[in-house]
């Protein structure tokens, strides 16, 4: 159980946080475009 939870945490913190960062980058372009 601990192993599964730990690997799930690694996935959320690694690929998960990178996915959110990429989502932010796409969103940022929209925010700056709206300013222009």
């Amino acid at each position: 159980m601990m192993e599964i939870v730990t690997w799930a945490s690694v996935v959320v913190l690694g690929p998960g946080s990178i996915a959110i960062f990429v989502w932010f980058l796409c969103d940022l372009r929209r925010i700056f475009r709206r300013d222009e």
Partner: protein, 495 residues
């Protein structure tokens, strides 16, 4: 321990990674300063924060070094109980804040801070009392103290390291306000999460795989026998006190600021619910590393006198190769900076917008507020760094600051959000909470004794034990009593 510290020294590549990160933060502040035209742009990013930005800024701001080191320290001493009883209750309160509190807050159209809500319901005196409590809570004293510990640990000269960090933090926050804070938080968020994601499997491998779970549990009656029981061998009162610290979420100034800064209520709800997954994973990771450090001590891989607060840093410095060490220190530095910048901005806003403007200069122009808040950000950082030198124990300092915030502000704010109390209820509730807290601390320090093993004050009355950790548990009923009395005896109806 000396040998460990020598091993923890950073080399050129590590410093290059950290330097690159600091330079990126500075450039960011300079670019974003062009977006600031008014106080609301500065303090609330113009009310335009979207879901991904909110996820990153909420997760990274709320989790600083106090959480990173504190949770791994609890994991080191108490095992998985740190996650089940300290971290897990937070997620319930965050879920409640997302689903129930956030939509209600968005109804306050022009509000920017908790004090605005308090003033709308209870008038100016409660606003000021609430603002002072928010300031005590927000001043990043504990983060500064933890930052100094980090510098000392990795061998960076504390004075110069602190000066560089504060200068960079103050520069980008002063220039770009919440925009710079939130966007820098995205980088800091990614760095702190990714570095921990790398560290977790390496730590498990370093300690020799998952056998440590059986080995620690097998020592019946030993110090680590309860490390994998959800209660960790702690009393029900202590577990309740841990769980109730999660109440601070409901009056967390950073949460309120970001709700008011969000483009809409749905964006905040999505961000908080996504954040729960990330917070839960982060907490689990640092708890597990704390447990692994304890296992390493039991196996003789780390010194027997290793302190819990150093567990995470020691183990990471022991196992990571050069370059990755820099990444990890960058990640930990990110956790510290994202908290310092956010809370310095909040504390400066408390002084300028919540106290100075209504009391001393009601006609202050937007430009004046903007200029003073910018100066205040720098002032708060310097003051927090100096004050942090006066405190020896980080845990007690944080506990006191969080207790003041919860005891003073929680009942009046929830009363305002969920009822129609009379105006006196807010002030009586706030003052009652403060008096209850100070009375408890006064009695505890006068009649209690410092428990060397538990490193906290304990007051034994009859058969009961009152721990320093119970402060909020005992101050909240006084605040509730004050609130109820004010509501019954107060004359003026709420606005």
């Amino acid at each position: 321990m000396i040998a460990l510290l020598d091993h923890a020294q950073l080399d050129g590549l590590d410093y290059a990674v950290i330097g690159l990160y600091l330079a990126a933060m500075l450039a960011l502040g300079a670019v974003l300063s062009s977006k600031i035209r008014a106080f609301k742009d500065y303090f609330l990013a113009g009310g335009a924060l979207t879901t991904p930005l909110l996820v990153c800024t909420l997760v990274s701001s709320y989790y600083g070094l106090d959480v990173t080191f504190g949770t791994s320290e609890s994991g080191f001493y108490y095992g998985v109980a740190a996650w089940f009883w300290y971290s897990l209750p937070y997620y319930f309160f965050i879920g409640f804040a997302a689903l129930v509190v956030a939509p209600r807050l968005k109804r306050y159209g022009d509000a920017m801070t908790i004090s605005d809500i308090l003033e709308q319901h209870y008038g100016m005196p409660t606003r000021v009392v609430g603002a002072v409590a928010c300031f005590v809570y927000s001043a990043p004293i504990v983060s500064m103290a933890a930052l100094m510990t980090l510098m000392e640990f990795v061998g960076i000269p504390t004075g110069w390291g602190l000066l560089a960090t504060i200068s960079v933090c103050a520069a980008y926050t002063t220039m770009g306000g919440l925009w710079a804070d939130a966007i820098s938080d995205t980088l800091q968020f990614t760095l702190m999460c990714v570095s921990l994601a790398i560290a977790i499997p390496l730590a498990v491998e370093w300690v020799g795989g998952w056998r440590f779970v059986e080995q620690m549990s097998a020592t019946a009656g030993g110090a680590t026998a309860d490390h994998f029981a959800h209660h960790g061998g702690l009393s029900g009162w202590m577990l309740a006190a841990w769980a109730l610290t999660g109440l601070t979420v409901l009056v967390e100034p950073a949460f309120y600021q970001r709700v008011f800064a969000a483009s809409d209520a749905k964006a905040v709800q999505r961000a908080l619910l996504t954040g729960i997954l990330l917070w839960a994973s982060y907490d689990w990771g640092v708890t597990l590393i704390g447990i692994i450090a304890r296992a390493a001590v039991e196996q003789g891989m780390l010194p027997a006198d290793l302190e819990g607060k150093s567990a995470l840093l020691t183990i990471c410095m022991e196992m990571l190769p050069t370059g990755l060490r820099g990444l990890l220190i960058g990640g930990i530095l990110s956790a510290a900076m994202s908290t310092i910048d956010s809370y310095s901005l909040l504390a400066s806003g408390n002084v300028v917008y919540d106290i100075y403007r209504p009391l001393l200069d009601p006609k202050a122009s937007d430009r004046r507020l903007l200029a003073l808040t910018r100066i205040g950000v720098f002032g708060v950082m310097v003051a927090a760094a100096l004050i942090s030198l006066l405190f020896v124990r980080m845990r007690d300092t944080w506990q006191f600051m969080a207790s003041v915030m919860t005891a003073v502000v929680l009942v009046p704010v929830l009363g305002a959000l969920f009822g129609r109390p009379r105006r006196a209820a807010g002030l009586w509730g706030a003052v009652g909470g403060f008096v209850g807290l100070i009375t408890f601390y006064g009695l505890l320090f006068k009649f209690g004794k410092f428990d060397l093993e538990e490193e906290t004050f304990v007051w034994r009355v009859g058969g009961a034990e009152l721990w320093q950790d119970f402060a909020v548990l005992l101050a909240l009923p006084v605040s509730i009593a004050g609130f109820v009395a004010g509501n019954l005896l107060g004359k003026e109806e709420t606005r």
